[in-house]
């Protein structure tokens, strides 16, 4: 079975297997045809396969008559910010985010700087499937230009949005692990703009991932091992395109990526109350934080595209996911790791608390996150079957199967990016969460056999 995932916001697959120059060009041609000869931005993360996809996109986009502003290696949230600043009609981000090195992906971004919504995405897919791409003659081919100082523009915006003075005054020392991804070196600029002392780990933009580029405790070991030694105040672990962040406390505790969103929401909603956008796989900590601040809570399907659409459509103030992605509407409608780091630092600076204290004040839940391989054609039917396990419970099937319990929940859904079924259980009681997750996994295993 070949691994290829085509969705409304892009295409993701295994390089050399499903991600070939032809596939990349066909998708980029479809997107260029959809944009109809307008200005488009292009950026990639540092993955070793990146230049292959990048060259293919350049050739394909200009063949449809689109002018390309090429940002080279650039984190996706900065690309999204630059789309609006340069009034481009759209952008392609070449990055597989948290997936490991075998993967790469194209993500399509609209002129608002957000992932394509369902209507836009369907249109691009229709063009792709039809295979009739716009072709222009030599003199109408698009041109490729590079862009300078977009990083400065971005960081100036970010600095204006944050309480930079408070951050500067608190003299924080911060360990950041960008995993040799798109955030490498660029974090140096973040530290200059926000005036904190940076201790970088894996800060070479060379695409060699020393661990999976997924921000979670398992991948935070390097940061955890030095944080006490260098006496830093907080540690951050980034994914390869800096859309997600997980935290490490000053005492070396690697915190679940689930904390990033509720931590920021808890601080930010006090400054700016409003609707909070979450999803069914995200910890109930967020639900509790919204309730405490008397803010409405909206739960939508898992995925940045849905989350951000909802943030825009529901006029929410903050959106996020348990995977460590956070967006603040007032800054930009995108999951943004730089913003998330900045907000955590601001929280620490303004509350004058250690990160371990801030975490301790959040509602405590126990979570079990597992994933099981499942052949793609079976995924959705297997997920549906799980309902039968809990006939008594209240079930929400708007995104996979979510089963509510008194002090917790169990969520089973097909991954949007891999041939996997994700099982997430959360409860006040660690044992209950564990027990439910195991029950579901055993059941799914028998179904797959």
């Amino acid at each position: 079975m070949k691994l290829l995932k085509i969705g409304i916001s892009g295409v993701r697959g295994i390089v050399g297997e499903t991600i070939t120059p032809d596939l990349v060009m066909n998708f980029a041609c479809a997107f260029g045809t959809y944009l109809n000869s307008k200005r488009v931005l292009l950026a990639r993360d540092t993955r070793i396969s990146g230049p292959m996809l990048h060259s293919a996109c350049l050739s394909a986009l200009i063949s449809t008559g689109c002018d390309v502003l090429d940002l080279g290696v650039c984190p996706t949230p900065i690309l999204q910010h630059t789309v609006k600043k340069l009034r481009a009609k759209g952008a392609i981000s070449i990055s597989a985010g948290h997936n490991d090195i075998e993967w790469n992906a194209l993500t399509f971004i609209n002129q608002e700087g957000t992932y394509l919504n369902a209507f836009q995405g369907e249109e691009v897919l229709d063009i792709y499937h039809l295979g009739k791409f716009k072709k222009v003659s030599s003199e109408k081919l698009g041109r490729i230009k590079s862009v300078d100082n977009y990083l400065d523009v971005y960081f100036k915006s970010l600095k204006r949005f944050l309480d930079a003075q408070a951050i500067r005054k608190s003299g924080l020392k911060v360990v950041i692990d960008p995993c040799n991804g798109a955030g490498a070196k660029i974090i140096d600029q973040l530290s200059c703009f926000l005036n904190f002392e940076l201790v970088p780990v894996n800060n070479e933009p060379n695409g060699y991932f020393p661990h999976d580029p997924e921000p979670r405790p398992r991948n935070a070991q390097q940061v955890a091992s030095i944080i006490k030694v260098v006496k830093a105040d907080v540690g951050f672990v980034l994914n390869s395109d800096v859309s997600r962040v997980s935290l490490v406390a000053e005492d070396g505790e690697t915190l679940s990526e689930e904390y990033t969103f509720p931590l920021i929401a808890s601080y930010y909603l006090k400054k700016k109350p409003g609707a909070v956008i979450s999803n069914h796989s995200t910890s109930a900590m967020v639900d509790d934080v919204a309730r405490e601040n008397n803010c409405p809570l909206v739960k939508i399907r898992v995925g940045q595209s849905f989350s951000i659409q909802s943030l825009v459509n529901e006029a929410g103030v903050i959106a996020g996911e348990g995977s460590g992605g956070v967006a603040i509407a007032e800054f930009q409608p995108a999951f943004d790791g730089f913003l998330a780091m900045g907000m955590v630092l601001e929280t620490m600076a303004r509350t004058k608390k250690k990160i371990s204290q801030i975490i301790a004040e959040l509602p405590r839940y126990h979570r079990v996150k597992e994933k099981i391989y499942c052949p793609p054609p079976k995924v959705h039917s297997v997920v549906n079957e799980v309902q039968k396990l809990f006939p008594e419970q209240k079930i929400d099937s708007s995104d996979g199967i979510k089963i509510e319990f008194e002090e917790g929940w169990l969520h089973i859904r097909a991954s949007a990016t891999e041939p996997m079924i994700r099982v997430i259980a959360e409860d006040r009681s660690k044992d209950k969460a564990q027990e439910r997750a195991e029950k579901a996994i055993d059941f799914i295993s028998t179904l797959i056999k």
């Binding site: 050399g16 032809d22 990349v24 070793i48 396969s49 230049p51 063949s63």
Partner: protein
């Protein structure tokens, strides 16, 4: 007549019309096939000055990366410089993004071996099999390379030129040279080359932006601007290159274009006078070559049309060739590199002027006089062969050659008809002692052809 196709895949590589047949997908598939064929390693990627060069080049780079090759981007560069750079840097091969002299809506790819030579028939066949089978090398995710760029790709070429030519002698003459680079790739090396030869230079169309102020084929009707410049500036000689700088035409000091045939004739006469040896030319090069070879008592080898056929013969003769080339202004000097090279041609003409002390018009007087007319009609290969079959019957009593198309030899004139390898057209050539005779010969055959069709 059927509509001509806009894609030609042939011994000379791939050519197509951008916006129609020449898509990113096509270019990257060919690059993947080529990378699969030559194996992993460095592959030089150069381009002529066409505006579509970037689109094709990026697709080529993507294809090469996908099969584990290391693209070395050298940007806009004369074709002979690309070939020599490929050989000198010991790359696995090279891809030149060019459509040679085709009009500007075209572009294409030429494939170069590690020897710096275009793929020969057998190699092209093997390579096209890989393309058609569509099974390209698979590599592990850690084996992807990142493109590198090289800033001075013309250096090895220039070094070879200057070490072959009598630079001292040419420099001493301080020639005034007008050069028309046709907005092609030649513009990146012409100024440096002429400076090195101590020439006072007047350059026109010397921005390599593919704008093609005139059709990028060095024919007399395309170079009126250069002819005027030569007269106005009192230049000793005028040179015009084609878009990828492998071919050269000459204008004499009076501003008269010599016709592209004359480039090889003058160069041959000069080279043979220094170094008598075999001459290798294609079937449709002028009979003047035979006359000159007789003068120096050397053999002429005739080959099929197409640079690689001439080069193959040169290689087969293992160093016995003094000079080779084509009537279209493509001069090949094996002592520099077995490839067509407008810079070699320029250097030889200048050296000939310097050593003889003669003006171009005087050199022109010294070679046998023939007049060649080149014409073309629209038509596919199949239609061409229909015509050839009939003409062969009509002229069975004449001396004919079927080496490439049909060449009918008369006493001191000939007619040659063959389908183009690169465009959906049929080429017609007639050569005779005078222009009038050549015209008559051509129109006689054109009439006959229209009756056959």
């Amino acid at each position: 007549m059927k509509k001509a196709t806009s894609l030609k895949i042939s011994i000379s590589g791939v050519r197509g019309v951008v916006g129609e047949s020449l898509t990113p997908q096509l270019a990257s598939s060919f690059a993947q096939a080529f990378g699969t064929y030559i194996g992993r390693g460095a592959v030089v990627v150069g381009q002529d000055s066409r505006v579509s060069g970037t689109m094709v080049k990026k697709a080529v780079i993507s294809g090469l990366l996908a099969v584990g090759c290391q693209p070395i981007e050298i940007g806009i560069c004369p074709i002979p410089s690309i070939q020599i750079f490929t050989k000198e840097t010991e790359a696995r091969g090279g891809i030149a993004v060019t459509a040679s002299h085709n009009p500007k809506e075209w572009n294409g790819m030429k494939f170069i071996s590690g020897e710096g030579l275009f793929l020969n028939h057998h190699q092209v066949e093997e390579f096209l099999d890989i393309y058609h089978q569509g099974e390209f090398s698979r590599i592990g995710v850690n084996e992807y390379k990142s493109p590198k760029s090289e800033e001075n790709p013309t250096v090895p070429h220039l070094r070879k030129l200057l070490s072959y030519l009598n630079v001292e002698l040419i420099r001493s003459k301080k020639f005034k040279v007008a050069a028309d680079c046709a907005n092609g790739a030649g513009a990146v090396l012409v100024p440096e080359f002429l400076d090195a030869l101590g020439c006072r230079k007047i350059l026109i169309n010397d921005v390599p932006d593919g704008s093609f102020a005139h059709h990028p084929e060095p024919l007399p009707e395309n170079i009126t601007g250069l002819c005027r410049t030569v007269v106005e500036q009192g230049a000793d000689v005028g040179f015009v290159q084609d878009a990828d700088a492998d071919r050269l035409a000459v204008v004499n000091e009076k501003g008269d274009p010599l016709g592209e045939e004359m480039t090889l004739i003058l160069a041959s006469k000069h080279v043979l006078s220094k170094n008598p040896g075999a001459v290798v030319v294609n079937l449709s090069a002028s009979q003047a070559i035979d006359d000159i070879a007789r003068e120096f008592n050397v053999r002429v080898f005739r080959t099929k049309i197409g640079e690689i056929n001439v080069v193959d013969q040169v290689l087969a003769l293992e160093g016995k060739t003094a000079i080779a080339g084509e009537g279209n202004g493509g001069v090949i000097l094996p002592d520099i590199h077995p490839c067509r090279d407008s810079f070699t041609a320029m250097g030889l003409i200048l050296e000939s002027m310097a050593s003889s002390g003669k003006k171009v018009s005087e050199l022109q007087e010294q070679v046998p006089k023939y007049h060649i007319i080149k014409d073309k009609i629209d038509g596919t290969q199949e239609e061409a062969f229909g015509i050839i079959r009939q003409l062969k019957r009509n002229y069975s009593s004449q001396e004919i050659s079927l080496l490439d198309g049909l060449k009918i030899q008369f006493k001191d004139s000939w007619f040659h008809i063959r389908p183009s390898n690169t465009e959906p057209i049929i080429r017609l050539l007639a050569e005779a002692r005078t222009k009038k005779q050549a015209e008559n010969l051509l129109s006689k055959f054109k009439k006959e052809i229209s009756e056959i069709i």
